[in-house]
């Protein structure tokens, strides 16, 4: 078994090796060689508060995905558009790849991340050494770059500006839900997962 050396840190961007600095609140260490941010004293958020945030985000996500983003009317015809409905239209029109890409980045990956995060935060208090904790953390890290709620939020705004030239637009519940979700996810993602990895016990050094 390789020997863990938790007193050292290495820069993931250039491999420079350092003794782990002791940082004050809000301080961050930068790599002297390449300038990359190395290590940040985790926001002092205990896992229970994080769990509350993750559950709030999960509820917001369901509302955002299923309820109408906008109601539109033009020449007496009125209808509403939701995210899931819009993806369905793409799919029905035969734009399968585009539909799958939109579905994965706005629904599937955020749902997977929040689901895994909920399970992780419940499990890590009881059994930080469990292999399930490692699997969940790895899963969260793998899907995280592919959840694009904040980009989608900007996309809605651009689409609305475009449509407002030709149709009357009435904002729907999901518009506000997506705005709230963007903020909640930003808070959740700012929590450094290294702090959760650090809760796992290290194996005893072999004699």
């Amino acid at each position: 078994m390789p020997k863990p050396l938790p007193a050292l840190i290495a820069c993931p961007h250039c491999d420079a090796l350092y003794r782990r600095p002791t940082l004050g609140r809000g301080e961050r260490a930068r790599c002297a060689r390449c300038g990359a941010p190395l290590y940040r004293e985790a926001i002092k958020l205990d896992p229970d508060h994080l769990l509350a945030l993750v559950i709030a985000a999960s509820i917001t996500l369901v509302i955002a995905n299923l309820s109408p983003v906008v109601r539109l009317s033009a020449s007496g015809i009125t209808h509403s558009a939701s995210l899931i409905g819009s993806i369905g239209v793409l799919w029905d029109e035969g734009r399968v790849l585009t539909a799958m890409l939109a579905f994965a980045t706005t629904i599937a990956f955020p749902v997977a991340e929040l689901g895994a995060f909920t399970a992780l935060l419940i499990l890590i208090r009881r059994e930080p050494g469990s292999p399930h904790v490692a699997a969940l953390l790895r899963g969260i890290q793998a899907v995280r770059p592919w959840g694009m709620t904040e980009v989608f939020m900007l996309g809605i705004v651009v689409a609305l500006v475009k449509i407002s030239h030709t149709a009357q637009v009435i904002p729907g519940v999901a518009l506000f839900a997506f705005a709230a979700l963007t903020i909640l996810l930003t808070l959740i993602i700012s929590y450094d997962l290294k702090a959760l990895w650090a809760l796992r016990p290290l194996p005893e050094a072999e004699p």
């Binding site: 090796l17 995210l83 793409l90 900007l154």
Partner: protein, 206 residues
């Protein structure tokens, strides 16, 4: 200034959990904290990154030439490419949005491919100038890449919103899938590229 590196000290940084490990003499060491297989550098990084970038560069052509949206009204049908969509914003009084879409849909993917090619070549030849600048360039690329997906979301919501039966409907075009593929491929390329390679060979030279 020469700093010690993990590799030079015979240590490996676990890419999953960030633990520095001493692999000892084991041929296939695993991280004692998270179980990930430990590699000093990302496996086959240069070759994989090249392959992904070439694929992205090829798809960049249809992504820009094929229509990403088609509009059907009672009287006519029109097809929009990414560029003509930008021109539409410019002409309808939203130059700010035109600039935004141009930046994320046309400029960033192209700049990203070119910069990654530069990083790869410089790493392969062990260029030792501008190391910090290249390191910064890579971090910027990694950070901004996801915003290129913007147009896919604009298309998705526009298609979903403009459903006025016979009056007007909008459909996504084949360019959208090609464009999405470009964004995904360049994001994966940024992930397979190991930025430590920027420094490795320049080190050996000096």
């Amino acid at each position: 200034m020469t700093l010690p590196t993990a590799h030079a000290e015979g240590l490996i940084l676990c890419e999953t959990c960030g633990l520095v490990c001493d692999p000892g003499r084991e041929p296939h060491p695993h991280c004692p904290r998270c179980g990930t297989t430990l590699h000093a550098r990302k496996v086959d990084s240069i070759r994989r990154t090249w392959a992904l970038l070439i694929a992205a560069a090829i798809l960049y052509v249809p992504a820009n030439l094929l229509p990403v949206m088609s509009t059907y009204t009672l009287f006519n049908t029109s097809h929009d490419t990414i560029m003509s969509g930008i021109v539409y914003f410019w002409n309808t009084g939203s130059p700010d949005l035109a600039i935004l879409i141009f930046a994320v849909s046309i400029f960033i993917p192209l700049a990203k491919i070119l910069c990654m090619v530069l990083l790869l070549i410089a790493a392969q030849y062990g260029v030792d100038k501008g190391l910090r600048q290249r390191a910064l360039m890579f971090r910027v690329i990694e950070f901004v890449g996801r915003w290129s997906m913007l147009d896919i979301f604009v298309i998705t919501m526009t298609v979903g919103m403009v459903r006025f039966r016979s009056l007007a409907t909008i459909d996504a075009g084949p360019g959208a899938a090609a464009f999405g593929a470009v964004v995904v491929l360049t994001m994966i390329a940024a992930h397979t590229f190991d930025p430590r390679l920027i420094w490795d060979r320049s080190e050996k030279k000096s």
